[in-house]
Structures are given as structure tokens and as C-alpha cells.
């Protein structure tokens, strides 16, 4: 029987190997990536089986005990996230297969590096290792953003690079100070040895600022809308759904596990306030946007705000963390579907200015339906995954009589309803005049990829007993 945790690491190694081979043989990148996704399903299934029965699964790399060596572990939450990343990866790979039919073969190695980085980030238990994985994800994301080579994409990628690198270095400074103050970078050892100390506070402060910059939380969200709007559709889907969630997950692990002893309620209040501001700001900006992809990008700013808004609830309420994870997963699935649908619209109409889409949307029924299903989950209407996540959070917020958080969750849904129904209403415009309107039917698989992912976002709300049980396996995040 191989060491436990081997399956988790295979999920990092398979994409790396595929990245190599697809770089070596550029013309067959698409098929290689598709094979990688299919092959990765096997270790993922074995990991799920192992975690479902024995809880957390971990492995000391190189055989060295932490804190000297690096430990890699996957508990219930990590396995759930790995499955969501895999599912979205499958959808995006199928979609990109047709989207990049002949052009930009280097998309495939970059996507494989991104996937490897994301998986490594989820399973790593070592602060310095997280720096390297975040850098892997960041570089791949920036390269993918600038893939089209258009001027606005390059400007957006430029701004994204600078903020991403600065954020990573601030995080690195925090890691260095943590090592200096507490003598280790392994999370488990740190969670026992960390005591209040000025260096500890500064380290956590630096790391938090770095992670907030990379996760585009409210004050530092300026780089996100141009980057996600100008990237090619499958890339903006990956960025919005997965890439910006990485820094949030690290921050959550730091605040709730590693540094849980020195995080004060006031700190939680500040980050929750920023989250609330992100919800309101992102939604209001999304409502006034004139272009579809930019609207969806601002919606990401808002939806990310929920995750930070609800962070303080996990301190006292165990199923608040399940709520956050379900919300994160539902948003990831729905947002991917929205961006893929936007890609279909762009493919069909050549532009994504909302006003002129009246004649396009009615002729893309499957895409319109995907937008509707995804929109239901983004708003948080039952029976979607978004609703279930919000419901768990509202109940735990009321339980802790954090009335502000509960109200913001509900108000956020209403604001989201406004900008989502702005898109859905286009499908019912009833003007299908075909004269003088460029319409180029996108391939069926691109439309159906968006639909299936949106369906999963809704399904998450219905068949949620299994995911919630999985998340609770292997130690909860609450301190």
C-alpha cells in the first residue's frame, strides 16, 4: 500500500508532467490536457475514498518529519476543493479545446502549470511552500491574461503582475518574520508555538496585506476587472473561479488555524468590514457596467467579499466554515459558467456590449439557460448551492447576533439579482431580427460546457448532504 497522501501529490504531479509534454509537443496540447484531466480522476477518487473513511491524509515529503521537512495533507475541505478545481478544469478544458482551436498552443502548458499550482496550494501545509505555489499560480495567471496580446489585455496583465509580485513579496516577508520569531514554517508546529509577540503581529499584518492584494479584496480590487474582462473567456473563468480563491484560502488557514491565538476580534471586524464593502461596491459597479465580461468581473469582486465578510463567523460556529466553502464552490462553478457563456456570446456576436446583445441572446438558448442557472446560484436563490451557502451563513450570523453580516448577505443577494436579471432579460427581448447582425453559431460543446457547470452549481444546493459530510471530515477549520 503506497504511503497515504500519495494520491494528493499525484494531483500535483500529473499536471506538471502534462505541462512538460505539452510544451515539448505544442500541436497536441489540447489532447494531452484532456487526457491529464481524465487520468487525474483516478487519484482524486482514491483520495476521496481515503479521506471519507479515515479523515485527514498526509505525507512527509522526502520522509523528513516536519518542521524540518515539508508536510502535505488533505482533509475533507481540501478534498472538496480539489474536486471542485478538477470539475471546473474539466469544463474549461473541453471549452478551450474549441476556443483555442489552432491558435495560442501555449495555453495548454500554462493551464497545466496553473492547475498544478492550485492543487499544490490546497494541499500544502508549509508557509514557505505556499509562497512558491502562489508564485506558480500567479505567474501562470498573468501569462494567461496577456495571451490575446491586445493592448488592454497587456495593460491589465501589467498591472496584475506588479500587484501580484508585490503581494507575494509582502507575504514572503511575513513568512521570514514568522520563521525568525517562532523558529519554523510548518503550519502544525506554528499553531502550537505561536504566542502574542510584536514580530508575530507584524508578520501576520504583512501576510494579510499581501494576500488581500492578490485576492483582490475591496481596497485592492482595482486590477481585477480589467484583467478578468480582457482575458480570453476560459482564462477569465479560471481566474475568477479559482485563482483569486487561493490567497483567500491561505488567509483563512492563517487566521483560523496558524495564527488563531493572536488574531483579535477587532482584526476579524476589520476584514469583515472590508468584505462587506467589497460586496456593496462590486455589486453597484456591476449594475452600471455596459459590457458583459466587465459586469461579470465586478460580480466576482462582490462575491469574493462574501467570503471575507463571513470569516469571523467561523470563530464560534462550526458550520459557518461549511457555508463559506459551499459558497466558494457554488460561486466558482457559477462564475465559470457565466464567463464561458460570455465567451459564447463574444464568439457569436464579436462584441459583448450589453445594449446590442438583444438580438444575439435569444438565438443562443442553451447559453441563455446556462446564464439563468448560474445567475440563480450567484444571487443565492434556492435551490442553488449559493443559497445553501448563504443560508448556513445567515443562520450562524443570526446565532451570533451579527445582524450586520446577515443583512449584508441578504442585501448582496438583491443587488446581485439586479445585474443578473439585466443579462437574463436580454434572452427574452423578442427581437430576433437577423438582418445586418453578425451571428456565428458557437460549437455545441462550448455551449454545453457552460450549461453543465451551471447545472452543477445548482445541483450543489440539492445534493449537498455528501459535500457537507466530506467538509466536516478530518478536522474542522474553526480554531
Amino acid at each position: 500500500m503506497p504511503e497515504p497522501g500519495t494520491d494528493a501529490l499525484w494531483l500535483v504531479l500529473i499536471p506538471l508532467i502534462t505541462a512538460l509534454v505539452s510544451f515539448l509537443l505544442p500541436t497536441r496540447g489540447g489532447t494531452l490536457a484532456a487526457c491529464a484531466v481524465v487520468v487525474a480522476a483516478w487519484p482524486l477518487a482514491r483520495l476521496l475514498h481515503a479521506v471519507w473513511h479515515t479523515g485527514t491524509v498526509s505525507q512527509h515529503l522526502g520522509g523528513w518529519q516536519p518542521p524540518l521537512g515539508i508536510q502535505v495533507s488533505a482533509n475533507g475541505s481540501d478534498t472538496f476543493l480539489l474536486m471542485i478545481v478538477w470539475l471546473i478544469g474539466l469544463g474549461v478544458t473541453i471549452y478551450a479545446f474549441h476556443y483555442f482551436r489552432k491558435k495560442s498552443e501555449l495555453f495548454w502548458p500554462l493551464w497545466m502549470f496553473l492547475w498544478a499550482g492550485l492543487n499544490a496550494l490546497i494541499i500544502s501545509d508549509d508557509l514557505f511552500n505556499l509562497y512558491v505555489t502562489m508564485e506558480l499560480v500567479g505567474l501562470a495567471a498573468v501569462a494567461l491574461t496577456a495571451l490575446t496580446g491586445r493592448a488592454e489585455a497587456l495593460r491589465a496583465a501589467m498591472r496584475y503582475t506588479i500587484i501580484s509580485l508585490t503581494g507575494s513579496l509582502l507575504y514572503l516577508m511575513g513568512v521570514a518574520m514568522t520563521y525568525a520569531a517562532y523558529g519554523s514554517v510548518d503550519m502544525e508546529t506554528l499553531s502550537t508555538t505561536i504566542k502574542p509577540h510584536p514580530a508575530g503581529y507584524t508578520a501576520l499584518g504583512l501576510m494579510t496585506v499581501g494576500l488581500i492584494a492578490k485576492a483582490a479584496l475591496f481596497p485592492c480590487h482595482v486590477w481585477l476587472p480589467p484583467a478578468h474582462a480582457n482575458a480570453p473567456a476560459p482564462v477569465s473563468a479560471l481566474l475568477s473561479a479559482l485563482v483569486i480563491k487561493g490567497p483567500f484560502l491561505i488567509l483563512a488557514q492563517l487566521w483560523l488555524q496558524v495564527y488563531s491565538k493572536i488574531v483579535t476580534p477587532e482584526a476579524f471586524a476589520v476584514i469583515s468590514f472590508l468584505g462587506g464593502a467589497a460586496v456593496l461596491w462590486g455589486a453597484t459597479q456591476a449594475i452600471v457596467q455596459q459590457r458583459l465580461k466587465r459586469l461579470i468581473a465586478y460580480s466576482t469582486v462582490a462575491q469574493l467579499g462574501y467570503l471575507f465578510l463571513a470569516l469571523p463567523l467561523t470563530a464560534s460556529h462550526p458550520d459557518a466554515w461549511s457555508g463559506i466553502l459551499i459558497l466558494l464552490a457554488a460561486h466558482a462553478l457559477a462564475k465559470t459558467a457565466l464567463f464561458l457563456a460570455a465567451g459564447n456570446v463574444l464568439h457569436a456576436a464579436g462584441h459583448d456590449t450589453l445594449a446590442e446583445l438583444k438580438t444575439i441572446m435569444p438565438r443562443l438558448p442553451v447559453t441563455a439557460f446556462a446564464v439563468a442557472l448560474a445567475g440563480v446560484s450567484i444571487i443565492g436563490l434556492p435551490p442553488s448551492g449559493g443559497f445553501l451557502g448563504k443560508w448556513l451563513l445567515i443562520v450562524s450570523a443570526l446565532d451570533r447576533n451579527a445582524l450586520g453580516i446577515a443583512l449584508l448577505l441578504v442585501i448582496g443577494s438583491l443587488l446581485a439579482a439586479i445585474y443578473i436579471f439585466r443579462i437574463i432579460a436580454l434572452a427574452f427581448s423578442g427581437e430576433e431580427s437577423t438582418k445586418g447582425v453578425r451571428f456565428h453559431q458557437p460549437p455545441r460543446s462550448m455551449e454545453w460546457a457552460a450549461f453543465v457547470l451551471a447545472f452543477f452549481a445548482v445541483l450543489l444546493g440539492l445534493a449537498s448532504n455528501a459535500p457537507l459530510h466530506l467538509i466536516s471530515m478530518g478536522g474542522r477549520m474553526a480554531p
Binding site: 458550520d319 461549511s322 435569444p362 438558448p365 439557460f369 440563480v376 444571487i379 436563490l381 434556492p382 435551490p383 443559497f387 445553501l388 443560508w391 448556513l392 445567515i394 443562520v395 443570526l398 446565532d399 446577515a406 443583512l407 441578504v410 442585501i411 443577494s413 438583491l414 439579482a417 436579471f421 437574463i424 432579460a425 427574452f428 427581448s429 423578442g430 427581437e431 444546493g461 440539492l462 449537498s464 448532504n465 457537507l468
Partner: protein, 497 residues
């Protein structure tokens, strides 16, 4: 899974799957779509009849899907839910027949019938909901599935009506969500129990329960079109006739009223509601709505708008019935749930026929319509007279019980409100009847246009059937299988425990 557990999901999914399959049917094949539609509707009615029989013999149907700890989707069939399910299943069949005839050449029919069936399954789910969460889930699903129907015609006016509709219903949904979350936080997951589930909590959470009740009523009031929240209903009349008939006369509006009945009787319990003195303000609000709706209806020249305002006032009869303490008023309120449904749908069918057959949209154009479309106008008159409360018809039964309940529950002013409202009903219905029967129409050519419509019988049969049923429900109220008997059964289950 013995048949006790399988029946409810079967009823729910019989219409849901027809809807989903229809979505995938191409726009072209009308025949298979029509067959599928009718098959789904008939199948549903058969299942509902079996359910009706089961519940009548005290059998308990329950099926459960655990979403998460504290969140379960529960479907139960108690007397009240079966009452509403029978109504919606029966009227769904009739409206399907009517819609097939009505939308003969119009575009997007697959989309229409798909959402139409999903909307009915949402209504059924709402009726069969066993706890608050399931009720909320189907309540919001109802909003989602009705929006595409309201904006079905496309074009600026329909989209504007859609926006207004969403503004009200989503806001209402959010308030309801907040109320239910607060209630769940206080009392844990609540399931509907006859006689109320909150009695233990009443003493020490007095203020909070009152606040929650206000939130719940606000959330439900949007769909029940209680006065300040009724703005969307008249605007939604831009939708095609089958939509306004089933949805705005039966499904959506009834969902709100049904919700109020559930909250008062099966969540709070009538006694708890009384000593938290929630009933009195509710009765006042309902009365204001009744009178306001009737007055507004007077000034509407557009026929469908007038009917819309009449719905606003009529639905509040149900709310009024629940707001008066006492079994008799409850019977009046619950039976009106059924009666108002069949009466109002007859009127909307007739209005649709006038618009489709003769191109008449305004009351002022309805001179001499009786001769041109005798059957439709006959059923319209039966419906209208029922609304006014003429003795042999269904309306009279519910108003009589409401009045009697009002007097018994020493709320004498109720009978004043009811009689005033009946006067107003007469004021806005009788002129229509007078115009239709006794005035002579001018253009003779109109008559020929109607004949050319192919499936004209599909437009006439439904209103006539519902009109007959109005007569049956009124005249034969005392027979064992009438809506009144069923309402009595519900009422005494609410009060006896």
C-alpha cells in the same frame, strides 16, 4: 420506498419532467408537445385523486431529502396541502387546453410550456411543503419560473413588467428568507404541525416572534398582493391570457395566501397568534386591501386590469378569513381559496377569448359581446355573479361563512367590510354584464373573424367547465365531495388539538 413515500415526489415531478422534456423538444413538433402536455396534466390529476382518497382516510404521506444538518426538504400531504394541490392540478389541465388553443401560431411555445409546467410543479411543491425551508425553496422557484412567462411576449412593455415583478417578488423573497432564518435561529427547523409549532416559545420571545411575523407577512404579502405590495399584479397583465389566468389568479397569488394560512395556523398556531395580538392588525390590513382593490377596479377601463384589481381584493378575503379567530371564519377563508380560484380563472379565460376572438381589451368596447360569443359571456357572467356573492354560486358560500365567522368572533365591523366590498364588486361587474347582454354591438364583421380560428373549442371549453364548477361548488356545497366539506375538515383539524 413504499407507495406512501413515492406518491408525493411523483406528483411533484410529473409536471416538472414534462416541462424539462418539452424544453428539449424542438419548436417545430407541436403534436408531440401537445400530447406530452395533456398527458402530464392528466397523469397529475390521477395521482392527485389517489392522494385525495388517501388523505381522506387519514393516511400519512411523507417523503424527505436531507440537504444538510438542520435543512431538510420534506413533502407531506395534510388536508390543507391536498386542497391546494387538487385546485392547481385541476386548473392546470384546463389552462393547458386553453393555452394550446390560445397560442396557436405564436413563437417560443416550447419555452412557454416548459416554464409553464415547472411553475405548476413549483406550486405543487409549495403546497406539499412540510417545513419552512421547503416552502421557501418552492416559493422562490415559483418566482423564477413565472418571470419567463410574464416576459414571454418580449418587447419593452413586457420586460418592464418583468422588472417590476422581479423587484417586488425578489424583495419579498429576501424578507421572507430573513424571517425564516431568524425563526430557525430561535426555534430550530420548523415543520408545519396542525395547531402551530411555536406554542412553547410564545412567552419569553414575545417581541421577536411579533417582529418575525411581520417579516413573514411582508414576504408573503408580496405574492398575496396585500395593498402596499400589490403593484406588480396589474402590470403583469401584459402577459398572455393563459399566464394571467393560471398564474395571477391561481398559482402565484394563491401561493401568497396559502403561505399566510400556513404561517398563522401551522407555524404560529391560532391561539399563539391571538395572544401575540397579531390577528387584529392582519385583519385590518386585509380589509383595507379588500376595499382598496375594489375601488381601484371601478376606474379601470382595461378588462384585464379590472380583473387584476378584483383579484387583489378577493385574495384578501382569504387573509381576512385567517385573521378572524374562530373555526367558521377559517372555513370561509379556506374555502374561498378554492372558490376564488375557479371564479377568477373563468373570468380570465373569458377575457382572453374576448381579446383573442374579437380583439376587445377594454370594457367600453364590450357592447353586444353576449350575442357574438354566447358561451364565453355566459361563463363570464356566472363568474362575475359568483364574485359578487349571488346565493346559488360559490362566492356566496365563502362570503356567508366569512360574515358568520366575523359576527361569532365579535368582529362586527367585518360584515360591514364584506357587504361594502360586495356592493363594489357589483358596481364594477354588473355594468360589464349589462353592456355584454343588453347593448347592441355595432360592427357585424367581428362575428366572422372569430369563426376562422381553428381550435376555437379549446378556448371555449375551459371557461364553461370552470363556470359549471362554480355553480356546483355553490349549489351543492353540502355534498360530501365539495370544497366546503374539505374546508370544514381542515378547519376542525386546526382547532381540535
Amino acid at each position: 420506498m413504499n407507495d406512501l413515500q413515492i406518491l408525493l415526489p411523483l406528483i411533484l415531478f410529473s409536471s416538472f419532467f414534462t416541462g424539462v422534456i418539452i424544453f428539449f423538444l424542438g419548436e417545430g413538433n407541436h403534436r408531440s408537445r401537445t400530447v406530452l402536455n395533456l398527458l402530464g396534466a392528466v397523469l397529475k390529476i390521477l395521482l392527485v385523486l389517489q392522494l385525495l382518497d388517501g388523505v381522506y382516510h387519514q393516511q400519512v404521506y411523507q417523503s424527505q431529502l436531507v440537504l444538510a444538518p438542520g435543512i431538510e426538504i420534506v413533502l407531506t400531504a395534510d388536508a390543507l396541502s391536498v386542497f391546494f394541490v387538487t385546485l392547481s392540478a385541476f386548473l392546470w389541465l384546463l389552462t393547458t387546453v386553453y393555452a394550446i388553443g390560445y397560442l396557436e401560431q405564436s413563437p417560443h411555445r416550447s419555452r412557454f410550456f416548459g416554464f409553464f409546467s415547472i411553475c405548476v410543479s413549483a406550486t405543487t411543491g409549495l403546497a406539499l411543503a412540510g417545513n419552512l425551508i421547503t416552502f421557501l425553496l418552492f416559493y422562490e422557484l415559483l418566482t423564477l419560473s413565472t418571470y419567463p412567462l410574464v416576459v414571454h411576449k418580449g418587447g419593452a412593455r413586457a420586460l418592464r413588467a418583468g422588472r417590476i415583478y422581479l423587484r417586488y417578488t425578489l424583495a419579498g423573497g429576501a424578507v421572507l428568507l430573513f424571517g425564516i432564518a431568524w425563526l430557525q435561529n430561535l426555534a430550530g427547523p420548523i415543520s408545519f404541525t396542525e395547531g402551530g409549532a411555536l406554542s412553547p416559545l410564545a412567552e419569553n420571545h414575545r417581541w421577536e416572534l411579533q417582529m418575525i411575523f411581520v417579516l413573514l407577512i411582508l414576504g408573503l404579502g408580496v405574492k398575496a398582493a396585500i395593498v402596499p405590495l400589490h403593484g406588480w399584479l396589474p402590470n403583469a397583465m401584459v402577459a398572455p391570457a393563459p399566464v394571467s389566468s393560471l398564474l395571477h389568479a391561481v398559482a402565484v397569488v394563491k401561493a401568497g395566501a396559502f403561505g399566510v394560512v400556513r404561517m398563522v395556523y401551522e407555524v404560529y398556531g391560532i391561539d399563539v397568534a391571538r395572544d401575540l395580538n397579531l390577528l387584529h392588525p392582519l385583519a385590518i390590513v386585509a380589509s383595507i386591501t379588500i376595499v382598496y382593490g375594489s375601488i381601484k377596479a371601478l376606474f379601470q377601463d382595461e378588462l384585464k386590469k379590472r380583473l387584476a384589481y378584483s383579484t387583489v381584493s378577493q385574495v384578501s378575503y382569504i387573509v381576512l378569513g385567517t385573521a378572524i379567530f374562530g373555526p367558521v371564519a377559517t372555513i370561509g377563508g379556506i374555502v374561498h381559496l378554492f372558490h376564488q380560484g375557479i371564479m377568477k380563472i373563468t373570468l380570465f379565460f373569458a377575457a382572453g377569448n374576448y381579446a383573442e376572438g374579437l380583439g376587445i381589451h377594454r370594457v367600453s368596447q364590450m357592447d353586444g359581446v353576449g350575442r357574438k360569443m354566447p358561451w364565453t359571456t355566459l361563463s363570464f357572467s356566472i363568474g362575475a355573479l359568483g364574485m359578487i356573492g349571488l346565493p346559488p354560486l360559490a362566492g356566496y358560500v365563502s362570503k356567508w361563512y366569512l360574515q358568520k365567522g366575523g359576527i361569532e368572533g365579535d368582529e362586527a365591523w367585518i360584515s360591514l367590510v364584506l357587504s361594502m366590498s360586495s356592493l363594489l364588486n357589483a358596481a364594477y361587474f354588473l355594468p360589464i354584464l349589462y353592456r355584454a347582454w343588453f347593448k347592441t354591438g355595432t360592427e357585424e364583421t367581428e362575428r366572422s373573424r372569430k369563426r376562422r380560428r381553428p381550435a376555437w373549442w379549446m378556448l371555449v371549453l375551459p371557461p364553461v367547465t370552470t363556470a359549471l364548477f362554480v355553480v356546483y361548488a355553490g349549489a351543492f356545497a353540502e355534498t360530501p365531495y365539495s370544497p366546503l366539506q374539505w374546508a370544514k375538515m381542515i378547519a376542525d383539524r386546526e382547532y381540535t388539538p
